[in-house]
Symmetry: C2
Subunit: 207 residues, 2 copies
Amino acid sequence: MARKPLTNPRKSASQERSRATVDALVEATARILVRDGFDKASTNRIAAEAGVSIGSLYQYYPCKEALVAAVIDRHNQDIMQVVRGAFAEVAVESVESAARKLIAVAIEAHRIDPKLHRVLAEQIPRTGRLKDVEAFNREAHTLFKGYLESHRNELRVADPGLAAFVCVTSIEALAHTAVLRNSEKLSSEAAEALIDEATRLVVGYLK
Amino acid sequence: MARKPLTNPRKSASQERSRATVDALVEATARILVRDGFDKASTNRIAAEAGVSIGSLYQYYPCKEALVAAVIDRHNQDIMQVVRGAFAEVAVESVESAARKLIAVAIEAHRIDPKLHRVLAEQIPRTGRLKDVEAFNREAHTLFKGYLESHRNELRVADPGLAAFVCVTSIEALAHTAVLRNSEKLSSEAAEALIDEATRLVVGYLK
DNA sequence: ACATAATGCGAGCGATAGCTCACAATTGTC
DNA sequence: GACAATTGTGAGCTATCGCTCGCATTATGT
């Protein structure tokens, strides 16, 4: 006996049919963001692109930001899965090979969906979802700090927190800038050269 | 004998009076961007804030983006003036002191008007003025490359262009992130510690 | 088969955006 | 003081936005 049968989005979809609707909406949002940009991603347009009525959209997402946030979350999950895997793989390796692998993975992660990544990076501030991305950054930061602490004997690092900030920020910026500047792709030779340089940068700094 | 007396913005203001109007518009835009954010910066609001009618606004700026672009240009000029000065000052200094000064200046430059810088950094993609900012980056890049080439004997740098990319990108990201993350300011001790670390990072990489 | 809940629909509302245009006021020139 | 150029004005147009709501359709349970 629902008191407010239609107000407030229903949030959860129980049947199979509605899950498809939700997926279609998120995918349509991502597609429009990539193809037309954030400003063109109106709720009416998203609903049309998803082949769903505007009314249905508002049953599952309370506002436009919520839709973009869903896209952001999905993209972040995709990236963090790769990053977490890399840190696990690298935990007991030497600084050189660990740094090299992590840098390679950072570049790889930025290439998962570069056009979407670019739009999201540009538009995240407007969605109020900065907090989520900061949480993501904090996790990368924490993972890196963990590595530094467990390899402290091989390194000369006074403050692992600060060192992790310096390394993560630099690696992220290099990967981000390189991928976005070079028209959404890097030639494999250029990528190799960049990995070499970035590895020298952080290894030289850490020991 | 103007054929189109009122169509197409007049672009140039000849009298004293109209220069004041143009300045008031740019300053009002910056003020609103900082105080209320990009989305609230409607043309009607900017005109009101400037104490100017909406009609006058459209005599000098063809659209909202042009106004924001004017703010961006002004801010970039402010920053580049500091940066150019630093490179001139540092041209004949050792790598250590050069790197240290440039890093300090990068942080300083980000502190010129952090709130405006943040808004602009977030909203530049929407203004179509990415090209201008890329030109700005390219200049920093070129200046750094020039330093590396003229100090090649003291360094071990195979590709000055690539090395400049690595250094400029890292320094910019560290300064940017540090200034924006720490609620628009850095304690002077924290800034010193960051300068020390960043200096070690780039000096260790360059030689 | 029927009742009930879950899901889907889309015309249209109010708000606000960017922007135009016919006109008023000010300034420069003689 | 007269006349034209320059500059300033703001009501209001059109377009689009986010979003609502009453109702239609589909699925579930019995």
